[in-house]
Symmetry: C2
Subunit: 478 residues, 2 copies
């Protein structure tokens, strides 16, 4: 009964996907609301997922030679204005500090919506010679964008993220690094979060304010809508010129360096929820799950059970598994429902009969599949099953993605396919922004990316009928 | 020559300690200035020290059952005002956000100067029953205080810190936890940063706004001034009442929980610099040094040297030592001076003759002592020497502290001792704030703490001559 009660708290995703999502965020204790609209509290369980993401991703950054720094959270208005496209994009959604203590400030400061301008100001101080390059910096921080609407993890006024900002001696090197970081993100999503991605380039309309090129990884959620999971931008030397950053090259020329920036945010957690979750709640990819195995004793009051269950947990921990035990007086049913809702990848059940047999039962969160495991093989079997959960999640999500990419050859067909199936619609494109706007207007879809894996689907653009130059993916996006 | 040139960049500490400090922060590339007064950039080398501090300290917190969360950076003015003493203390130094995008906000928000009010607002939502207690939360973030003056690491308008906030069912448990966290800080300073501390309680005048009791660890810098390195506060149930936070106890009563908060900041890095640094620059305690051993090849162009030096680095890394090699074409003298300035605890020199002998030379940053080490013992010897550097730093700092605590029995004596020697002056105290103010006025010293290790030095207060109740330490503080 306890089990049913708990699951009832979550709206079925088929009934109302948005409500299901909010229910999961709240009931799995990932997030709480604060008294300011759009500013959320990351609760311990939600924050622990982010810590695991940070830990693994930061190690990948460091392998690329990236160093962490921390820049101020405030940007003087005059500094933000130095790059025209950039300020046009961000100024309308900045929060402005106008008072310091009891005094009105001479110049107002915005809370960083992103930190290109701050990095540029610093790079001007520390880049003089070709020996100072490349500079490969990153920071983990929060940024603030005064959005009108908000949803947990997907759209916060303040959200946690990382922003990498690099400077290079040549355009080629900077371009290469832009794509290298996109690949770090893509591999991370697939190998750590079990979220398959499509890699591609954004259209000019969708690129970052001030960038020459924006590359993206796009994921498909369970409701077949698109989530932009990470982006990497190539800036050329535009900002460097605007900020007067230059270095003396080997042949003694004064040259502006070439710049990149790249970021992912706690939006990834929104992606995890909507990719893997089900009507029983959260389903967490094992590699970032705060608890990988929850140990639940059966007939806990019987002699030896608590000891046996604790010994199993200790052994898992010693093997590097994030294991936890629930010895509370809640019922077995309650516990099962609780850790299902929280998305713990494996549940270990162990009772008097198991202990007699020298075994226990491991239950997979993703499939419900039960495996009887001999205790002397516990560590190996748990590791295998955690990998199996990861693989299972990835395959299911990959199938969802592959099954819901539809090819269209006319605007009407694109619209009909989207209305009927959701998902991504792939077409050719002439490259004209007018056609992009028309697709949005008529079919309600934005361009997601021009995939790196280009296809020849047709000779002409489905919107205007002129010569097509690229294949492109469309979708309804979060 | 290169060596001398580098060291010349740093003012001698005996000439001008404040300038020496700023020189070290700048030349060792710990920090850079931004265009906003008092807001500093943490550069890679400075931030890496903070990352190491975070890593070790966070693990200690987790051993105490503490969970990390993240609260919004903005506090509505009405929320800040809920606890009277608290708002009085902090409102004058808040930065205020008054515009969101292009709209004037109905209520202004301050950027958190500290987050008691935000935690209380959340605790009200998540604490209902005694089963919900204790709540042991912490966050790593930056806070903002609109200070008039600023110095790197010691006084920033924005600085990085951690703030723990806990709620407990009983006053006793909260009091105990307050002191437990103080001890975590004290042990960390001594065992990780090699900074000896004095543990004690702050006077009412010096305690945190809104706290019932503030406990502190006080360190003595090389110039014999005091640095408050960490504080832990007991709040009683004052905030809980102001915020209407209550739980149902086991016997079904509605009870307000008891609260603590505790924090350390990047000020610790200022403490490290001023405790261990010398006229050649930074001296880093090995446990938090970003580079623990710098490998410097001698006669680098000779065959086999680069390979031999690299092999030594690889072996150190494999043993878990943070080792780095400098293969640049800078001179040996330049390299020695560079890594001395950067405070790297051990320098490993290795050249053709060493390689022939199967040995290398390890040079201690703190003492300059050279040890010839056989390569087949490299890992063990490096670990021993790193520990020896830690012990050497601690002993030297402990001697500085012990040698400069002076006992006084009158206001005049206290003043004279401070003027003559600096350091801490210990006296008795009647407990009256008037005497505390007079000490500040006459002798220029603030009370640092009433040490946990109380002494009976006299029967009366040296200021007013009335009955003394406590021994107390005075000093000139950063």
């Amino acid at each position: 009964m306890a089990k049913d009660k708990k699951v009832e708290q979550i709206t079925d995703m088929e009934v109302d996907f948005a409500q299901w999502f909010t229910d999961v965020c709240k009931k799995a204790e990932l997030i709480d609301y604060s008294s300011i609209k759009g500013m959320f509290i990351y609760r311990p369980y939600g924050y622990a997922i982010w810590e695991n993401i940070q830990h693994i991703m930061d190690a990948e950054f460091k392998k690329c030679g990236v160093e962490n720094v921390y820049m101020p959270m405030l940007i003087p208005e005059s500094l933000l204005q130095k790059e025209k496209d950039h300020v046009e994009g961000f100024a309308p959604e900045c929060a402005w500090v106008t008072m310091g203590g009891t005094e009105k400030l001479e110049e107002r400061y915005c809370i960083r919506p992103t930190s290109e301008t701050l990095f540029c100001e610093h790079y001007k101080n520390v880049i003089q010679s070709h020996r100072d390059l490349p500079k490969l910096y990153n920071q983990w921080c929060s940024v603030l964008r005064w959005e009108k609407t908000s949803r947990p993890f997907l759209r916060h006024r303040e959200f946690l993220w990382q922003e990498g900002h690099t400077m290079h001696a040549t355009a080629e090197e900077a371009e290469e690094f832009t794509q290298r970081m996109l690949n770090v993100y893509a591999d991370f999503c697939e190998q750590v979060l079990a979220m398959p991605v499509i890699r591609g380039r954004k259209t000019d309309k969708e690129k970052f304010n001030g960038a020459e090129a924006t590359y993206t990884i796009e994921c498909m959620m369970h409701d077949r809508k698109a989530l932009q999971a990470g982006t990497s931008h190539y800036f050329g030397d535009g900002f460097a010129k605007a900020f007067d950053i230059a270095f003396t090259s080997k042949d003694n020329q004064r040259v502006n360096p070439f710049q990149t920036s790249w970021g992912v945010s706690t939006r990834l957690i929104g992606g995890i929820i909507m990719t893997h979750g089900d009507n029983n709640g959260l389903v967490l990819p094992p590699k970032i799950a705060p608890v990988q195995v929850i140990v639940v004793p059966v007939a806990q009051h019987k002699p030896g059970v608590v000891e046996g269950a604790t010994a199993a947990m200790d052994r898992l921990r010693a093997a590097g598994v994030r294991a936890k035990i629930d010895l509370s007086d809640n019922s077995l049913g309650w516990k099962c429902a609780e850790y299902e809702m929280k998305g713990v990848p494996l549940r270990l059940e162990i009772g008097p009969r198991d202990l007699e047999n020298g075994s226990c039962v491991l239950v997979r969160r993703d499939s419900g599949e039960k495996t009887v495991v001999r205790l002397d093989e516990l560590e190996t079997k748990a590791a295998e099953l955690l990998q199996a959960v990861h693989d299972g999640l990835f395959e299911k999500a990959k199938k969802n993605l592959d099954d819901h990419i539809y090819e269209a050859h006319s605007l009407e067909e694109a619209k009909a396919l989207q209305e009927q199936n959701g998902g991504f619609i792939k077409t050719m494109w002439c490259g004209d922004e007018a056609c992009e706007l028309k697709m949005k207007d008529v079919a309600g879809m934005s361009s997601r990316c021009m995939p790196f894996a280009q296809e020849h689907l047709d000779d002409v653009c489905p919107v205007c009928g002129r010569k097509a130059v690229k294949s492109i993916l469309w979708g309804v996006a979060y």
